[in-house]
Amino acid sequence: MTIYVGARDLSGLPIGTHQFIVITYSSRQSIMIGRRVYVTRLLGPKVHGIVIGAQNRGTLNVEVFEKADTLAAQEHFGGVKKVWHKSDYDTEMKIVKFNGSEFSLHHERKLVSLVDAYFINQTLDPIRYPTAGAGFNSNSWAQSVIEYSGGKVGSNMKGLDIYHKRRIPETYFIPYCPSEPRVKLNQ
């Protein structure tokens, strides 16, 4: 099991990068996120994985196996071949390390639980998608999840991944209502 932060081109835009998270396994797995069970997909030869990313849906919504993120992951792991006349995402992947190690079941569970909590909170207390993406966006989301799960990875990927240094407050990743109302982001 390995956790990656992926970065891909934005669909239809010459400049801009979107970050997402990929967890890979050597065999098929089932993972429960947001009260749904997801079965890993084949991302490349002998690489099964789950792809999770925050998307621009008016609010910053987390989606599992979003089409573009999944294609970008498959492009990287060899599940789809790049052809000059078809769209591609110029995907970049960085392995996340936990206390110097590339494998940590404990941290994988922690990461999934953070995503799980965000799933609930995005319906109860959604974060507005920032105007023109300039604010807490998918790059901030991916890097926040990695940081709160105890992972270390370079946050600056190829291209213009704006706001990758911003962190969404941890209260958005907890599975219960905080004592104080959450800070409203991107308002």
Binding site: L10, S11, G12, L13, P14, G16, T17, H18, Q55, N56, R57, G58, E66, K67, A68, L71, W84, H85, K86, S87, D88, Y129, A132, G133, A134, N137, S138, N139, D161, I162, Y163
Partner: protein
């Protein structure tokens, strides 16, 4: 110097081209039933953008054949700046505004 012919006409051509392109792209996405993918292929999408920009430049050069070089440079610079702003507003506005994708 006619600002309408030298500036507004090329700028309008570029704007109109981009607007037609996003209407076609959006229609394809609506038709296929998936807004978040399956728009125009990347190659066609960017090729047409380059074509519209080239057409605007050719029109500008044709309409500024008989004006002094200094005026040509001023209007040309204005046109480049406007082109960048128009492109950002239309293309980024379309992709991010319609939630096709985002940073």
């Amino acid at each position: 110097m006619e600002i309408k012919k030298t500036y507004f006409l090329p700028a309008s051509l570029f704007t109109l081209g981009l607007l037609i392109l996003i209407v076609v792209d959006y229609s394809i996405r609506q038709y296929t039933g998936n807004l978040y993918s399956l728009g125009l292929p990347e190659l066609v999408w960017f090729l047409f953008q380059i074509l519209f920009a080239t057409a605007a430049i050719v029109l500008f050069l044709r309409n500024t054949r008989f004006i002094p070089i200094k005026s040509k440079l001023i209007v040309g610079s204005m046109l480049i700046v406007s082109g960048i702003i128009i492109y950002a507003l239309i293309i980024y506005g379309y992709v991010i505004g319609t939630r096709i994708d985002g940073f």
